[in-house]
Amino acid sequence: MSTEVITDSTVDAPGHAEENYLQSGKGVLSWLFTLDHKRIGLMYLVSVLSFFLVGGLLAMVIRIELLTPEGNLAPEVYNRIFTLHGAAMIFVFLVPAIPASLGNFILPLMLGAKDVAFPRLNLLSFHIYLFGALFLVYAILTGGIDTGWTFYTPYSSSFASGSVIAALFGVFILGFSSILTGLNFIVTIHKMRAPGQTWYQMPLFLWAIYATSLIQVLATPVIAITVFLLMIERSLGIGIFDPAMGGDPVLFQHFFWFYSHPVVYLMVLPGFGVISELVAVHSRKNIFGYKAIAFSSVAISGIGFLIWGHHMFVSGQSEFAGILFSFLTFAVAIPTAIKVFSWVATMYKGSIAYTTPMCYVFTFLFLFAIGGLTGLFLATIAVDVHLHDTYFVVAHFHYVMVGGTLTAFLGGLHHWWPKMTGKMYNNKLGNLGAFLVFLGFNVTFMAQFVLGTRGMPRRYHTYLPEFQFWHVISTIGSFILAIAFFLILGYLMHSIFRGKKAPHNPWGGVSLEWETATPPITHNFHGQPIVTRGPYEFPEIEDVEPAKAHA
C-alpha cells in the first residue's frame, strides 16, 4: 500500500460506527448550508446536470428545426434558442462541470485533507453559482436573448431585444463563483497536501485542476469587466463599444476572447486530468511521462492566454496580429499532442479492463483526437478565412467540448460513482451508453464538418437546399446522442435507489481517495494519511528494477 493511515482503530472496517457524509445531516437546510466539500460537490453535480438537460433539450430543438431548409420556427425564436443553448451549455454546465462537482468532491480526498482550505468560501461559491444561474433562468423564462453566447457589439448593445442585461448580470455573477472556486483549490493544493506528498506524488487530476484554477483566477475577471462594460454600454450608452459614438467593436472582441479562449482550456483541462487518472488506474500501469503530462497542463493554461486572436482572423483585426496569433496557436498544439500520445503509451503492456470508465477513455481519445486535429485547419489563417463561422467551427468545438470535456466528465463520474454514492451501476449498460454516445456523436458532427467546408454558415435559421442531406444525417445522430444520455441518466438513477452496494475499492486505485470508507465519513480520514510513494504504484506492476525490465 502506498500510504499508511494513522487511525485510532487499527482496522478501518467499512461498517464503521461513524456514519458517512450522506447520513450526517437530515433536511434541506443541512444540505444547503453544509460546509462539507463532498456535499457541495454533490449539489454542484445535480445543478450542473440539470442545466445540461436544459441545454440538451435546446440542442434537440435546433436539430429538429434544421431538418428542412425552411424550418418551421420564426427566425427570432430560432436565434434565441441557439443563443440560450450556447450560454447555458458554457456558463452553467461546462465551466463548473468537472472542477466544481468532481473536483470539489475528490480534491481534498486526494490530498488527504479534511476539507478545502476555505470551506465557507466554498459554500459561498455554490450560493453565488445558484444566484447567477437564477439570472440566466430569468432571462430564459422572459423570452431569452438573441445575441449569440458571444454578445458581439454593436448588435448586443444597441439592437438586440430581450432581457440581455439579466443574462449579462448572470454571467457576471457566475464569474465570481468560478474565481472563488479556483482560488480555493490553488490554496488547498499549495497548503494542505498530505505530509510526504510532494508535487510529483500528487495524482495528475490535481495538476489539471491546479492549471484550471490558474485560468479561473486569471481569466475570469476580464469577462467580468467586459460584461460590466457591456451592461453600462447597453443601459447608459457611454459609447465605448458603440461605433456610432466612436467606439470600436473589435476592441470588445479582444476583451471577450481574452477570457473566452482560456475558458475553453478551463473546460477541457479538468477532462485531461480525469483521463490521466482513468487511463492509469484501468490499465493498472504507471502513467507514461508523469512530468510531461503535468507540465503540459500548466503549459496549456499559460499559452492559452496568448492565442485568443484566432477567433478574430477575419474580424478586421490587422494582418500582422492575425499571423502572430496563428503562429502561437500552433504552439498550444504541441503540449496537447504530448498528452494524447502519453495516454496511449500508458496502455502499452498494461492490463486493460473494459470497465465503463475505460470505454469513456477510448471514446475520449477517438473524439478528442479528431477535435484536436481539426483545430489545425482553423489555426492556419489562410484556411480559416474559408472555414471561419461555418459549421466546420461548430463541429470542431463540439468535438473538443462534448467529445473531450463531456466524455471525460462521464468517465470520471462513472469512475468515482461507487465512492460518491456507495452504489454500483451496471457495467454492461454503462458500456452500451458509452458506445451510443460515441456512435451518436460521430454521426451528428462528422456531417457538420462536411457542411462547414462546403460553406454552410453557422447560426443560420434557413439554408440552401443543397445542404439538407447532411443536416438530416446530423439530426438523426443527435437523436442517438439524446437516447444515450437518457440511458445513462436512467441506470445511474437506478443504481442510487436499487443498485448493489459498491465494493470498497472497485477499480483498485491507490491514490488517497480510495483510502476512505465508501461513501466517505464527514471528516474523510480518521487520522492523517502519510504519502510515501507515487499515485500510480499498482501492485500488478512487476516490481523489478527498470534495468532488468524485459521488453
Binding site: P69, N79, Y152, P154, Y155, F159, A160, P243, A244, G247, D248, P249, R284, F288, G289, K291, G316, E319, S326, F330, A333, I334, A337, I338, V344, M347, Y348, K349, G350, I352, Y354, F362, L365, A369, I370, L373, T374, L376, F377, T380, A382, V385, H386, D389, T453, R454, G455, P457, Y460, H461, T462, Y463, P465, Q468, F469, Y536, F538, E540, E542, A549
Partner: protein, 332 residues
C-alpha cells in the same frame, strides 16, 4: 418549401456540389488563389488523417492486445522514455511549422490586393447587400464582376457587424460599421456564386444572401452601360416587380393584402391612407416617391418607422418602375 422526400435528398447528396468540379470537402475553386488554399487544406487533411490513424490504431491495438485476461496480470514498470517523448514533440513541431509557413504565404497573397484591381464599394445593412460601382455610378443588389480581372471590395456596414463570404472564392471578411475593411479576388471564369453573411446580425441573418455574377469582359462592359437605364423592351411594371423583390421590399411589404412589418400595398394606389399622426393622405405617385426616399416622413397608422431610406440607391426611372408596379396592383 421542398419537402423531405428521399429522392430529392439523395439526389443532392450524390450530385454533391454546384456546377463546376468541387472536390468532396471543398466547393468549386472559382478564384485564382482558391486552388492554393484547397491544396493547403488537403495537405493538413491528410496529415490529420495519418496522425489520427496512428494514434487510434495504436490505441485499439493496445486495448485488444493488453486486455485484462486474468485479474492479477502483471504490467510493465515503464513510466517514461525521454527519447520517445522528445521525438513526438519535435516531429509534430516541425510539421506544424511547415504548415504555418505555407499558410502564411497563402494568407499574404490573399491580403495584398494587386494595384490595378477594380474598386467596388460594398454596403451591408440589416439584411441586404448593396454594391456601388463608383466609376460607373451604378448601384445594384448583386455583385457583377468581370472574369479574369482582380476586383477589390471596400466594405462598410450601416448598423451592426456583418461578414462578406463567398465560399467558391474562399474569401471572407467582417464588414464593420466604424471602419472600411477590404478583400480582393479574381474570378477565373464566368458563372454565378453564392454570397453569405457569416457574422450574426439579427433576425434575418440567414436571409441576407446575394449573388456574384461573373461575366466575360465584353458582357460586363455591355452590362455596365445597360445599367444606366432600364431596358425599354420590358414593360415598366415588370421592372418594378423585379426591383421590388431585389431591393428586399418583400421582406416587409406584401402584395397579398396581408400586412407584414410594413403595410400591404395591394389595392392601395388611389385610396386614402390614415397616418400615424391621425391625418390622411392620398396614395399617389408623390406619396410613394417620398415614402421611398424619406420613409419616416408620413408613416401609416399602426406601423413602426423602421423602413430604411433608399435615397442614393434607386435611380428615378427605377422609382417610376416601382410606382407603375404598385399602380398595377392598385384599386382602380
Amino acid at each position: 418549401m421542398n419537402s423531405l422526400s428521399v429522392q430529392t435528398i439523395l439526389h443532392q447528396a450524390v450530385q454533391g456540389q454546384g456546377p463546376a468540379e468541387g472536390r468532396f470537402w471543398m466547393p468549386p475553386a472559382a478564384s485564382t488563389f482558391a486552388s492554393n488554399i484547397d491544396n493547403l487544406f488537403y495537405f493538413i487533411y491528410w496529415l490529420a488523417v495519418i496522425f489520427f490513424v496512428l494514434i487510434i490504431g495504436t490505441m485499439a491495438y493496445f486495448a485488444i492486445k493488453y486486455r485484462r485476461k486474468d485479474p492479477n496480470q502483471r504490467t510493465s514498470p515503464i513510466h517514461g522514455n525521454h527519447a520517445l517523448e522528445l521525438a513526438w514533440s519535435a516531429i509534430p513541431g516541425v510539421l506544424l511549422i511547415a504548415v504555418f509557413v505555407w499558410g502564411f504565404r497563402a494568407y499574404m497573397d490573399m491580403s495584398v490586393a494587386p494595384k490595378d484591381a477594380m474598386d467596388i464599394r460594398v454596403k451591408a445593412q440589416m439584411w441586404n447587400w448593396s454594391f456601388d460601382y463608383p466609376s460607373a455610378g451604378v448601384n445594384t443588389t448583386e455583385l457583377v464582376v468581370p472574369a479574369g480581372r482582380p476586383v477589390k471590395l471596400t466594405m462598410s456596414s450601416k448598423d451592426v457587424l456583418h461578414s462578406f463570404f463567398v465560399p467558391d472564392f474562399r474569401v471572407k471578411k467582417d464588414v464593420l460599421p466604424n471602419r472600411y475593411t477590404t478583400i480582393w479576388f479574381e474570378a477565373i471564369a464566368p458563372g454565378e456564386h453564392q454570397i453569405f453573411c457569416t457574422e450574426y446580425c439579427g433576425q434575418n441573418h440567414s436571409k441576407m444572401l446575394s449573388k456574384v455574377i461573373v461575366k466575360s469582359q465584353e458582357d460586363f462592359d455591355k452590362w455596365i452601360e445597360g445599367q444606366g437605364k432600364l431596358d425599354e423592351s420590358i414593360p415598366l411594371s415588370e421592372h418594378g416587380k423585379r426591383i421590388f423583390t431585389e431591393r428586399g421590399c418583400t421582406a416587409c411589404h406584401t402584395m397579398t393584402g396581408q400586412a407584414g412589418a410594413g403595410p400591404s400595398l395591394k389595392g392601395k394606389y388611389g385610396s386614402q391612407e390614415n397616418l400615424a399622426d391621425g391625418s390622411q393622405v392620398l396614395v399617389d405617385d408623390n406619396y410613394i416617391r417620398e415614402s421611398i426616399m424619406d420613409p419616416t416622413a408620413k408613416v401609416v397608422a399602426g406601423f413602426q418607422p423602421v423602413m430604411p431610406t433608399f435615397k442614393g440607391q434607386l435611380r428615378d426611372d427605377e422609382v417610376d418602375a416601382l410606382i407603375e408596379y404598385i399602380k398595377e396592383h392598385g384599386g382602380q
